[in-house]
């Protein structure tokens, strides 16, 4: 059972909100000494007022990856002043300790964004990491908050945010030197990266890795960025130098990368050029639908979404039979992706930046 305590005020101040937070915490603790405020990270969300409901739904679906203090800033064109609502919630008594989470919702006008740092600074728990998520293009707010932000959450796959993959990847690259970037599009590629890594960890396939000569990525039509990041990851890990892609029919793209290294045990059969195909396919969820990697001499491994995991198909030169199997795993869904993004704020992935650099070289 979730227990809640609420405070709200109109035309208020950050100081009053901070005081209310402290008072509510004291009151709740006095009522129940087992309540302990969660202290993991601050999550600041800057969102348009009209999308408030959807943002709240997405945040509710992150499951156990709730930030300890979430501050949702709902932005309206016309309003002035600052309205606030604070909710402290805890799971009902279950053990010696109950975890308390803080939700702060601010209503403010677009004019306040340029100095939103002065509103939020007093409201952040100072010793915790602060994660910023601005899903509706409020770059002025992002600029104002970057100094106090440890991690920025972006989604380079989101067409509402960026004018195409080139702008999306450029934005992520520009942010790289200013803060740590967690890209939801990159997180959508995680299961694919893990499965490709596992496939070539197998002794029966390890020898094929240096000789890979083709990569085909099937993706949601709006998720070319995820496909580019997955390919950029392969390029960065395997030492390939991508060339700009060329558009083909139906929103598809084709390109190449120079391998600049021998093909291992299959050197004779390896041209040194890796071909890439990016094919949009019908898929209800964002992200990758499938990936096939192969060699020039008839080996290929395809992974495609399937119920309960990924369908894997391996071809080898005749007379070896086609092999099919299912790699088990449940989809995390988009709520799970956002939750994973929040969780990743506490970790550091050294492979995103090199993958991003190579993905940008594919840009048409």
């Amino acid at each position: 059972m979730t227990e809640q305590t609420t405070w709200s005020a109109q035309d208020t101040t950050p100081d009053a909100i901070d005081s209310a937070l402290r008072r509510l915490l004291r009151e709740r603790h006095a009522q129940d000494a087992s309540l302990v405020p969660a202290r993991v990270l601050n999550l600041v969300v800057i969102a348009d007022r009209e999308w408030r409901g959807e943002i709240i739904n997405r945040l509710e679906r992150v499951g156990r990856y709730h930030a300890s203090r979430t501050i949702l800033c709902s932005i309206s064109e016309q309003r002035s002043g600052l309205d606030a609502r604070v909710v402290l919630s805890s799971d009902g008594p279950g053990g010696a300790v109950s975890v308390l989470r803080e939700w702060v919702e601010l209503d403010l006008g677009i004019d306040a964004l340029a100095r939103i740092d002065t509103i939020l600074d007093p409201l952040l728990v100072s010793e915790l990491q602060t994660v910023l998520w601005s899903p509706h293009n409020h770059d002025d707010a992002v600029e104002a908050l970057l100094e106090m932000t440890d991690v920025i959450l972006i989604d380079t796959d989101d067409p509402a945010n960026f004018d195409g993959p080139r702008a999306a990847l450029a934005r992520s690259w520009a942010l790289q030197d200013r803060t740590y970037v967690v890209d939801l599009a990159w997180l959508r590629t995680t299961p694919w990266r893990e499965r490709l890594a596992a496939a070539f960890d197998d002794p029966s396939r390890r020898g094929e890795l240096p000789a890979l000569a083709s990569v085909a990525v099937r993706h949601n039509p709006g998720s070319l960025t995820s496909a580019l990041l997955l390919s950029g990851w392969l390029a960065s890990r395997l030492g390939w130098s991508p060339e700009p892609l060329v558009a083909t029919a139906g929103g598809a793209y084709r390109g190449t990368a120079a391998a600049q290294r021998p093909g291992g045990a299959h050197d004779v059969a390896f041209s040194g050029i890796v071909g890439f195909d990016f094919e949009p396919v019908a898929q209800t969820v964002p992200g990758i639908a499938g990936v096939t990697v192969g060699t020039d001499y008839g080996f290929s491994l395809a992974l495609d979404r399937a119920p309960g995991g990924l369908l894997a198909r391996q071809r080898r030169p005749a007379p070896a039979p086609l092999r099919e199997w299912r790699v088990l795993g449940a989809s995390r869904g988009e709520g799970g992706i956002l939750g994973e993004g929040v969780r990743q704020a506490l970790l550091r992935d050294p492979t995103y930046r090199p993958a991003l650099a190579q993905a940008r070289r594919f840009e048409p």
């Binding site: 969660a38 893990e194 496939a199 197998d202 790699v327």
Partner: protein, 515 residues
């Protein structure tokens, strides 16, 4: 990565991944229809599948007496997973995990059963198109361990099927490993006659718990603690593993085990070893276990004739737990009326090495105690001089570092702090860290971590042969001393209490922490 660096010996794709690859594996559970398999092992396998942590080919075979079909085993496994999984199963993942599961029925000493098992495993390899690694998980009563191991060896199932291309074979052995030192030695000999030590994974699920692993992080990732982690600053250590439950329906097992074998020989001494060992040079399996063995070997084994000076044993009598009247141990179904099996034990151990000489380590465990609690309490020595008066306050108490393993995982440090007011009055306050408040993710089940480690061949959190023998070397003299004393009545304690008063006599200048 520099161009041209790529070679076939390393996998450049694994850098930065949280979930590292696991080789395709067949898991064979002996005792697959038993309680442990249903409650822990099968749900752990499911949760690994759900998270995408299992290898691309995973095959499951159950081995047990009882003539049930493959379909009946799958239905039984499904029910167990649906009942005990820590998350609601995804039907499609669950179907995928169980759709090819096989059941091999037969007595564990029946050679024909192993021939059929071999055929089943060959079928798994054929279906996967490659030799799968094999994990034989022995989740049976311990008397079957040597029988099963011997038959696996006689049927050649202990050997890698294709040494150059996978097909590694490992055996996971549940506790208890041995009944005393002699039986542990015999069991080690039997197992090592068939499997190399690198293939043997003796499991103690306590080591898979996050808090237990956090003990190492606390000690070796913080400059704060290690400087005081020695005889100069630490007064004594108390390790408690209290349970509020009785023996339930396990009289058959418990009568032959008792608290000392059930919890002290394995879980509690493991906690002590991790708490007291020297920093390992790395967390590679053998480096870590070398240090554990070193510190365990430094524990002075008691003289059997003087066991009464360092140990207390007791049985719970009737009492009230959580408002419910409960019977005493001797009234429990299946317990002999003249049983001398202890349901409570407390020990005082000393470690004879440079770091710990003179620091007593007090261990206590018992059933039907006031509450369920597992914790380590490290009490520091008092400050040498106090510049202010403590009149009118609780005074300056020694600092304590408390690591709670269950029910609420966390660490707390007690400090003396000034009570607000005009006078300098001091009372203890706590700085607390709770897992639930400081991390976003919940701790995975210990069995999930350990099964995955066994699949990877990482034995860091498993017990090595010499470690097992050293553990029994500490316990054996106590067992011998108790066995020799058939006259002294076994003290009782009231169910729902903190244990027998006799346990207080072990302590020097301190008292047991409240449960």
């Amino acid at each position: 990565m520099a161009l041209g660096e790529l070679d076939t010996d390393t996998n450049p794709l694994i850098a930065g991944l949280e979930r590292l690859p696991v080789r395709s594996t067949a898991v064979i559970i002996f005792g697959a229809t038993g309680d442990l398999a249903g409650r822990k092992l099968l749900p752990a396998l499911y949760n690994l599948a759900h998270e995408g942590s299992l290898p691309e080919h995973i095959e499951l075979a159950g081995v047990s007496r009882g003539d049930i079909s493959d379909d009946a085993f799958r239905a039984q496994a499904r029910e167990a997973i649906e009942t005990f999984s820590r998350r609601p199963p995804n039907p499609e993942v669950l179907d995928g995990l169980l759709e090819n599961a096989r059941f091999v029925s037969g007595s564990f000493d029946d050679p024909d059963m192993y021939a059929r098992l071999g055929q089943t495993l060959a079928g798994f390899d054929e279906r996967a198109g490659q030799p799968l690694n094999r994990i034989f998980y022995l989740s049976t009563a311990p008397q079957f361990f040597p029988v099963i191991i011997g038959e696996l060896g006689r049927h050649g199932l202990n050997q890698p099927t294709h040494p150059s291309s996978g097909g590694d074979v490992r055996v996971v052995i549940e506790k208890p490993f041995g009944y005393d030192l002699a039986s542990a030695l015999a069991q080690n000999e039997a197992v090592q006659a068939v499997f190399a030590e690198s293939q043997i994974f003796r499991i103690d699920h306590y080591l898979g718990k996050e808090t237990v692993q956090n003990l190492m992080a606390l000690r070796f990732a913080n400059a704060l603690f290690e400087p005081v982690w020695n005889r100069n600053f630490i007064d004594h250590v108390q390790i408690t593993a209290a349970e509020d439950l009785g023996i339930g329906g396990r009289a058959g097992y418990y009568e032959g085990a008792g608290a000392l074998r059930d919890l002290v020989q394995n879980h509690m001494l493991q906690l002590l070893a991790l708490l007291a060992m020297e920093p390992p040079t790395s967390f590679e399996a053998n480096r870590l276990r070398d240090e554990k063995v070193k510190v365990l070997a430094s524990i002075v084994p008691p003289d059997p004739t003087r066991v009464h000076e360092m140990s207390v044993r007791a049985q719970y009598g009737p009492g009230t737990v959580a408002g419910v009247n409960v019977p005493g141990y001797l009234e429990e179904p299946g317990v002999a009326p003249d049983s001398r099996t202890e349901t409570y034990t407390a020990l005082k151990l000393e470690i004879s090495n440079w770091r710990w000489a003179g620091v007593p380590f007090y261990l206590r465990t018992g059933k039907r105690l006031a509450r369920k609690l597992t914790e380590i309490a490290v009490t520091l020595k008092p400050v040498p001089h106090l510049a202010f008066q403590s009149e009118g306050s609780l005074g300056v108490q020694p600092n304590q570092i408390i690591l709670t393993v269950q029910p609420d995982e966390g660490v707390s440090v007690s400090l003396g702090a000034k009570i607000p007011g005009t006078r300098m009055r001091i009372r203890p306050v706590n700085m607390e860290f709770h897992y639930g408040t400081s991390f976003l993710s919940e701790s995975p089940e210990a069995y999930e971590r350990l099964i995955l480690d066994a699949m990877r061949g990482d034995a860091t959190l498993f017990t090595r042969n010499d470690e097992i023998e050293t553990l029994w070397g500490i316990i054996d003299p106590i067992l011998a001393g108790w066995a020799a004393d058939t006259d002294t009545p076994i003290p009782t304690y009231i169910a729902g209490s903190a244990g027998p008063a006799a346990a207080d006599t072990l302590l020097r200048d301190t008292r047991w922490r409240r449960l």
